[in-house]
Symmetry: none
């Protein structure tokens, strides 16, 4: 983001902010129309500068691939300013304790995924060996499926919510704590509903001191 001119930055932020409104990715002409320009050639020049700055994915020459943000741009410049809802607390063996007033907290882009996410506060020590302590905040990507080995928010029997490693095999779901004192639990797939997958985590040491 170093050597960009103002117009280039303007166009980049426009792309970032209106990305969804272009069903997939805009053409140069569409961009011109959207930004009130008449010359495709001029727009082309700007886009090339953004590609050189690694903010837009380069597309094959003369292939109508489309203009999309680069991985770097998505990591560094999207949703940075946005906040995630702090939904409540999660403790093994209880339903998620929802808050009445949902607070939003700013979260660094790198701690979340590009899918919708929310924040929970962990209660209990079932994941200590995974470095998740009592009182930590976890960022959860809202998702109803998971890969084996991921840490998930699982709803058991529609009543208990818990944060555990998951291992799925046909007809069986294992929810595994990261704590030598606790045993893994075995369920049928019908008993377990995946509500999200862990993508980030935060801890404050201030609260420890004030205790």
């Amino acid at each position: 983001m170093n050597e960009l001119t103002r117009r280039q930055r303007e166009i980049f932020y426009f792309l970032r902010d209106n990305y969804e409104s272009f069903a997939h990715s805009p053409t140069l002409d569409q961009l011109c129309a959207a930004l009130g320009m008449a010359s495709r050639g001029s727009m082309y020049k700007h886009i090339m500068a953004l590609i050189a700055a690694d903010l837009i994915e380069p597309f094959a020459s003369n292939k109508q691939g489309g203009i999309r943000l680069s991985a770097k741009a998505q990591r560094d410049y999207t949703a940075c300013e946005h906040s995630l809802p702090f939904v409540g607390k999660i403790a093994a063996g209880k339903p998620i304790e929802a808050l009445e007033n949902i607070n939003y907290m700013p979260v660094p882009a790198m701690l979340k995924s590009d899918k919708p996410c929310y924040v929970l506060q962990v209660q209990g020590d079932s994941m200590v060996e995974a470095g998740i302590f009592d009182g930590d905040w976890v960022i959860i990507e809202q998702r109803s499926y998971a890969n084996n080995g991921e840490i998930v928010v699982a709803l058991i029997e529609k009543s208990e919510a818990t944060l555990k490693y998951i291992e799925q095999s046909p007809g069986k779901v294992l929810l595994i704590p990261a704590n030598a004192n606790m045993a893994a639990m075995v369920y049928c797939p019908e008993q377990v509903e995946i509500q999200g997958v862990l993508v980030g985590q935060m801890r404050s040491y201030r609260s420890l001191l004030s205790k």
Copy 2:
């Protein structure tokens, strides 16, 4: 901030409050319009004074780059609830590896203190049992003293930086890892310089997936 004239201070605060993000950094003319001035040349003079005071990033001569706050200005004069500087990486046994381009990352207010803070990325496993893993980000409060039991950034012999528990007694400083495989180190107070105290921590699980 002392030797600035009143108008210069006014302009600086205006910039800080309205253009903290580089995204829409103004031109001299835009600044004039916003502040009710008519002469670009006069505004130029003020901006040059702010650059000399290291409050605004100097820009290449005659390049239309953009007016943006300097690192110093962001550190000292922007509201702390926004962003913290990501300074570099810390690995036991090495000096802090500073980055060329300091990035600022938004950090939830609860992860930091009301004193100046910065962010480091941890390398190594010396604090795993404290739930601080390789690759985690830690938020450090800039401070030259610590209480026993706190986790500190310590500079040893002016050459090695490390993140450890600290225990101080008269004539002796203990730096204690949180890893059963590593031993505590004993130093004289003169050998150890405290550079900051751990107040927050963050982890991304996305990067693990992409590995």
